[in-house]
Symmetry: C2
Subunit: 758 residues, 2 copies
Amino acid sequence: MQRWRLATVAGAALIATGAFASDSLQDVMKNRGLSQQDLLAAAKTYVPTGKRDEFVTFSSGGQSGQVIVYGVPSMRILKYVAVFTPEPWQGYGYDENSKAVLKQGRIDGKDITWGDTHHPAISETNGEYDGQFLFINDKANPRIAVIDLRDFETKQIVVNPIFKSEHGGTFVSPNTDYIIEAAQYAAPLENKKFYPLEEFNEKYRGGVTYWKFDRKAGRIDEKKSFSLELPPYSQDLSDFGKGPSDGWSFTNSFCSERYVGGIEKGRPPYEAGCSAKDTDYLHVVNWKRAAELVAAGKAKKINGHDVIMMDTAIKEGILFLIPEPKSPHGVDVTPDGKLLVVAGKLDTHVSVYSFEKIQAAIKAGKFESKDPYGIPVIAMKDALHTQVSLGLGPLHTQYDSKSCVAYTSLYVDSQVAKWNYCEGKVLDKISVHYNIGHLMAMEGDSTKPGGKYLVALNKLAIDRFVPVGPLHPQNHQLIDISGDKMQLLYDMPLPLGEPHYAVSIAANKLKPAVRYKVGTDSRTDEKHPGAVKAGEEKTVKKGNKVEVFGTLIRSHITPETIEVEVGDEVTIHLTNLERAQDETHGFTVSTYNTHASIEPGKTVTVKFKADKEGVYPYYCTEFCSALHLEMQGYLLVKPKGWKPTKTNLAAGNYTEADYKATLKKVADTQAVIDSVVAYITSVNYKDFPEVVAMVDDAFDQLGKTKDLKPKHEAAAAKKDWENANLWAEQIWQYQVKTADLGLRAKTFLEQNGAKKVK
Amino acid sequence: MQRWRLATVAGAALIATGAFASDSLQDVMKNRGLSQQDLLAAAKTYVPTGKRDEFVTFSSGGQSGQVIVYGVPSMRILKYVAVFTPEPWQGYGYDENSKAVLKQGRIDGKDITWGDTHHPAISETNGEYDGQFLFINDKANPRIAVIDLRDFETKQIVVNPIFKSEHGGTFVSPNTDYIIEAAQYAAPLENKKFYPLEEFNEKYRGGVTYWKFDRKAGRIDEKKSFSLELPPYSQDLSDFGKGPSDGWSFTNSFCSERYVGGIEKGRPPYEAGCSAKDTDYLHVVNWKRAAELVAAGKAKKINGHDVIMMDTAIKEGILFLIPEPKSPHGVDVTPDGKLLVVAGKLDTHVSVYSFEKIQAAIKAGKFESKDPYGIPVIAMKDALHTQVSLGLGPLHTQYDSKSCVAYTSLYVDSQVAKWNYCEGKVLDKISVHYNIGHLMAMEGDSTKPGGKYLVALNKLAIDRFVPVGPLHPQNHQLIDISGDKMQLLYDMPLPLGEPHYAVSIAANKLKPAVRYKVGTDSRTDEKHPGAVKAGEEKTVKKGNKVEVFGTLIRSHITPETIEVEVGDEVTIHLTNLERAQDETHGFTVSTYNTHASIEPGKTVTVKFKADKEGVYPYYCTEFCSALHLEMQGYLLVKPKGWKPTKTNLAAGNYTEADYKATLKKVADTQAVIDSVVAYITSVNYKDFPEVVAMVDDAFDQLGKTKDLKPKHEAAAAKKDWENANLWAEQIWQYQVKTADLGLRAKTFLEQNGAKKVK
């Protein structure tokens, strides 16, 4: 039997080899095969330790259902934010507080544990990125999530009430009043309603949803959100107008043929029937007026949601169509809001439409026809500013900080075209590896693009990286757009999911917090009802319900024993009492399939049924201190009615000499701490906020020893050498943490040019 | 009400700013604030497009339950491999084939959907990394996973039959006969057995499991695996002997005090009681002899698993203890197998033990005492080669390719110490940012370490990167160890989970496959029973069970309609018919919570109950071609007993002119293809395996047009212009894919110096 069914890879690998013991730059370049151009690219992308990236990119995580956060120009991934998918590291979907967020995303009463994230959007103020919120959509199970950029956590998921799939979201209006979500594959709008494909034209519908965002609450207001019914063209990407076009939105489409495919029915597949005609339709919507119509009660309720029906939209003059070239993807409004660029994947042109011309045609009532549903169609020639032939497979457009300069991805050519959309001419082209989907310039869809860098979001990279099996990474290539010619700077493998789109913001616009107020439920931003302070920890038993109100601090969990009877429902609330920003603790109980990540100040709840007898260790899952392995405890699940026969824990074999030795160790360590403190206070440490934070934390730790001295002295007075020794030992534990912080502060000061003070 | 409970960040960010329009290296360095040292580091780590990393690192994904794969020296993450946790991108836990792997990891009959991955190990041949398999453990829910490095997929999960937590795995014997997994927190070995903490010394036990690996099968053989009962000391890391010490293994421990903590019982916490004594115990085990004892029937069955009890081990002389300094973490055997280094986190020394001395003591029966369970204890002085004071918090040791040179992480000092273990002297130290756990040199725990680079696995990085909220990334710092002085090269943020340990292998030792034989179940490596070839697709209905045997190829799914009745159990098998290595397709059905990633040749099954009426689009979730959005279909869930009233699909409005226009487009496109083919065949394309693969695939695509010509001609003969036009259109679809590949091949050839041939 031939067990293994994989064909092996053929061909030579292009491996950068060569040893370098020499520190000469020339030797390194020679040994590693670097050209001068490579060195320049390295210098443009390398971020040395202690310095930071200029821009932060939020990329959709594709089929992983997450958001990927990475730095530009270093292209280093900083974080995966859990959104639609359970993520164990963050405890997302494993603790009760995050489960409540995922529960908002249930569809037809069932959990949806995956998502196909597509297009992230950063909240805007006056059309500029403001760095407060991030939104992202799920194509497969039509949903939108709200992520708060103060803590990079998902706060809300809303389910689209009328669609069965979507694609053209999220995009935000210039002041983030609304977030757009456009349908993709047409289906009946009524929930769980079956109509056969033979009634496709009559009963299947597309649409676009305008979600109302309440910035103060930091949440979408579902009740104030509404949709517009659209024909069963497969709606695709959208954009909001801005400046002169503010108040309008644009949504394109493919398969306006309304084709139903099926080889099994003797028909050509969708790909043929959906791309047979040379144009599809751009939908032009007056959304401000639409919102007024909804307020005026002109919407119909479908599945409890306000929908403006096509008839109403046509009658009220808020919906128009314009032909657009073949199977378009992006529709992208220029920074000044005057033009919009459509890229049709099966046409070599980008088409630049003029908002002014569109408005003139509407005002003049100049339409070339109506579509089968009666929607007025503006002639392409009456709306076009210009068309430019760029190459094969134009897909998506982004803007430069330089006036009139745009970049468009060419999927089939595997290139990026730089072109002038005012004058309609090509300026430059660069090859990428390989098929590029979206591209993304820094703040490149805002009213004030940041220029400098462009990222090409290329698909499966077959030969750019060391091979890692049949499933390849994607490749985000960084391109320098600061000069006249584009220059390729960096190949970045994407290790998880196929990101569809990304947005980048200047790093200094982000102001995330470093800790929570003690006792916060981070998913509601409210005080957690299970929060307790140090010394208030308790375990409450009521019938078969056991509720633990516990705390975490380096390096122990309180309580260290949880005793229940088999069958009990166990709820554990844990508050992280730390102030130090890197003192996240994690929590799990062996084989009870639960996990929480508890950052400083946060309170998190985990719940499970103790349905099997036995002894189950729990522990802190973060490497939080030198004694992190000792941050442990036991869940004891006793048989029903079990009664103890032995009531004392085994005593350790400690003597007065042990106690004395520990006291000496404590005194010695204090001397080390004193010397570190002497150094720190001898320099201008107060000029370094990082050090001030570490010093605060160090004294916080040392302060905890105060209560322990009476304890070891009292035990010693009773000649209880075990407790005397161990309480003294606990002082040493805090001293070690103090010394750890002090040494880290000292190193930082030495490396960052601290100066002596008087 | 103050809704937001986060404290905001204080202090100035260290942001690298400055524009660069100039291409002068000096200008770039000045604008970006780079020193000469920074430039050198950039040159040492930058991997230009088209070149590849020298080493591949497999890092545990920590609490994310995955494995992280990244390149060295670029530190770019290449892949996340799903192991213990469902991962939607890979369909892991979302398709039936991968669910079968996760099911092996069930504990007490229940799914465990998270894992705390700790220590990866690469399979070895004669003590050298061979790049065939990767193993990793789950601390929280004691399990081991087997990943096959031919396709980077998890093939097997085994559950430890007697532990409730573990830490000291995975480590492999020099020929990968056995994989070690050592317990962590002591508990009763019998499953679901409760004993109170008051019986800790008597009833709680530690242990170490030796998993038998069947390399030919590529799976662990659970029946041939066994464990050794150990005292309730918290066992920690382990290592196998090699060379002279082959046949022996070493496992250290902490909390040999056997302390039970609990402030709620008026006792100091575990952290104090577990670190009160100055030494813990290194366990020394003759595992080859242990395996013989098991074969001889001297093991006891516990939970159906062979366990050598302590009494037997003592009687047979296969188990010994040696004191080791305080709360050790790593025990690391030197490349020559003669020495072993123990780092105790609460002692400033590393302790180097001599295997020869240990054997001499055992042979001579020279023991200083017995532990409370009767295990002979060898005196530290009788086993020590040397001790070296390195600094605060020594934790883990790795080896250089240079003789006698070792590197040890210092957690509290946040440093790496380079030292000579033969002569016992410190050679160099370097500061890292910040608290370092494990460290890892290239192939640094094999018999032939690779030298060159070292990675410091540092914990939560508070100030190295742009802040991303209260939960910080970790920081893997790359250090150049090729010279006498260590040099810091690169800061790499870890975006997901806290990796505990990592292993690196020379990239050229990995030989992953690029595709599967058509119809493979990748989780069993066998032919998938649901696989079909092109043209064999079918849907089989039996009662309320619907089974679909479908295929995927650019850009359509066969079938494009699946019709079922509400309540039907739907099983869909999908075979990816592609040969191109980047033509992975994905599959999902709207709101039915399922996803599959189907690489070329793979067959995957998804299953769900169609429990709600309505129309649910399905689609390919990968950006697989310019027409990927059109790779769609509909699941129609009909009411029970529903009968159609209309049997024809709406006709498109196509004319003979449309058909003629499409035929012209087909001819024009063929001309483009011919010109590309002319170029490719005019150069030495056969010297480029990547291009040969693309050309093969291009002709593969073009070949599919052959069957379509008769179809459009037959329709045209019947004046069925719709089908005539659309079948011709389908030819064009294949042409576009052919052109796409051809252009990509052309670009590759132009950029890689292809030469004209006659």
